[in-house]
């Protein structure tokens, strides 16, 4: 059992369910801690703060990077991971509710990492589990450790999250990474420049929420038009079936797109890039998407360390 009992959030406990539950202090703390872990990874490795601890990874949907980075993080903290990776072969196929599954798993593990196809599943799991729950993607909902990874990358690329100018391009309507990133950048007063593909624009209520958190939002028709004075270009994947019939083509970021971009502009992508960025960009100083993917490890180390590190 977890040292702090129930894993509910935001009322208490150490669960991480939604970006909406995170205030600026908690984000800054996690990012600072992730930077310490980056240094530790380059040196003697992290302290074994999760020794004799067990993480249950419940993956009801396929995932490679997220699952591997959580497992790697847990191992580097000295702990072990038990995994359900094929939901079809497990309790879901037998008709067991998620609530029952997490109650049972709470008896086997000290924390749960959950990826599930239904929105709100992590919130539900956090209510029923006796141990902290980390949301590793709940359908079209949220994926907060991805957002924290993005924030770490932006902070390191542009020096600060405060007042950063971030161009966000691609599928802004359905892309959950964009939604969560917008909400998080909002509390830092970031300037967002949106370049939606076709009519895949940010939902109006979400735009209002992001503005109300302090972000300014403007739009451009083409990525190149949005780049002057920008710190970050955050390109996202457009799923072809979503733009069928709209006549819209996802814009590919090429060296030509970046020809007049500020020298310090960094290009990010949550990957897989699926045609969103020309491979020729990989070798330019603008490309940070592989560093971004790597940052997933120190972020997950920081998040797990917050759960296991303090045993007082």
């Amino acid at each position: 059992m977890s040292p702090d009992g129930r894993g509910d959030t935001p009322e208490g406990g150490r669960s991480l369910v939604s970006v909406r539950d995170l205030d600026r202090d908690r984000i800054d703390t996690i990012l600072d801690e992730a930077e310490r872990f980056q240094k530790a990874l380059d040196g003697d490795g992290p302290q074994q703060t999760a020794s004799n601890r067990v993480l249950a990874a419940l993956f009801y949907e396929p995932s490679t990077r997220t699952r591997l980075s959580f497992e790697s993080a847990m191992q580097r903290l000295g702990g072990d991971t038990i995994t359900i990776s094929e939901a079809s072969a497990s309790s879901m196929a037998k008709g067991e509710s998620l609530a029952d599954t997490v109650r049972v798993v709470s008896g086997y593990a000290d924390a749960i990492v959950l990826r599930h196809p239904r929105q709100g599943s992590a919130r539900l799991a956090a209510r029923f589990a006796d141990v902290p729950v980390v949301n590793a993607g709940d359908g079209a909902g949220e994926h907060p450790t991805q957002t924290l990874t993005d924030l770490l990358t932006i902070r390191q690329a542009s020096g600060s999250l405060e007042d950063a100018t971030v161009v966000v391009a691609g599928d802004l309507r359905y892309g959950r990474t964009v939604h969560s990133l917008g909400l998080a950048l909002g509390i830092y007063g970031a300037n967002l420049r949106l370049v939606p593909t076709g009519d895949l624009d940010l939902p109006a209520d979400l735009e209002e929420e992001i503005r109300s958190r302090g972000a300014s939002i403007e739009r451009a028709d083409a990525i190149g038009d949005a780049l002057p004075q920008a710190d970050i270009l955050y390109q996202t994947r457009v799923q072809e079936e979503r733009i069928e019939g709209t006549g819209a083509r996802p814009e590919t970021v090429t060296l030509e797109t970046l020809r007049e971009a500020p020298a310090g502009l960094k290009v990010m992508h949550p990957l897989p890039r699926v045609g969103g960025i020309d491979p020729a960009v990989d070798d330019s100083d603008h490309a940070v998407y592989f560093e971004q993917a790597r940052n997933g490890l120190p972020i997950r180390l920081a998040v797990l360390n917050q759960i296991f590190g303090d045993r007082s």
């Binding site: 509710s97 998620l98 239904r118 929105q119 709100g120 599943s121 539900l124 909902g141």
Partner: protein, 153 residues
Amino acid sequence: MRELKVTPIRNGTVIDHLPAGSALGICQVLGIPRPGSASTVSVVMNVPSDAMGHKDIIKVEDRDLHEDAQQQLAVMAPNATVNTIRDYHVSEKRTPEAPETVKNLAACPNPGCITNDEEPVSSEFDVHRNGDGYELSCAFCVERIEDPIELVG
């Protein structure tokens, strides 16, 4: 003086100032009439109203509206008044206040929401002020419902 087409009730509850057209949906949410109840329920719809243009009224004999039901009502119909009737007279008149969260109002309209699966939870919405009324967001999937009355329409 307008004449209502429904006779006064002796004991029970009169729910007044409901948005026109909402009464049947509200009855459904509030469980009116109770299954097996022999008491009369009168629903009057599209009654001319100075304040609202038109309104609906529900009269429920021999039943008081419990607190949870009053809170559900407040979310759906912020201007609703609940009159408790004793011996043909109004013994209490209340405008119920909306709670911070409301349960069991209706299923979450987001088909991808976990609460629409076979899970041991009821629907639950956070209630937010929006002008004169309220808007809701699902406590699980954060789906936004701008006008709660649409949930029960």
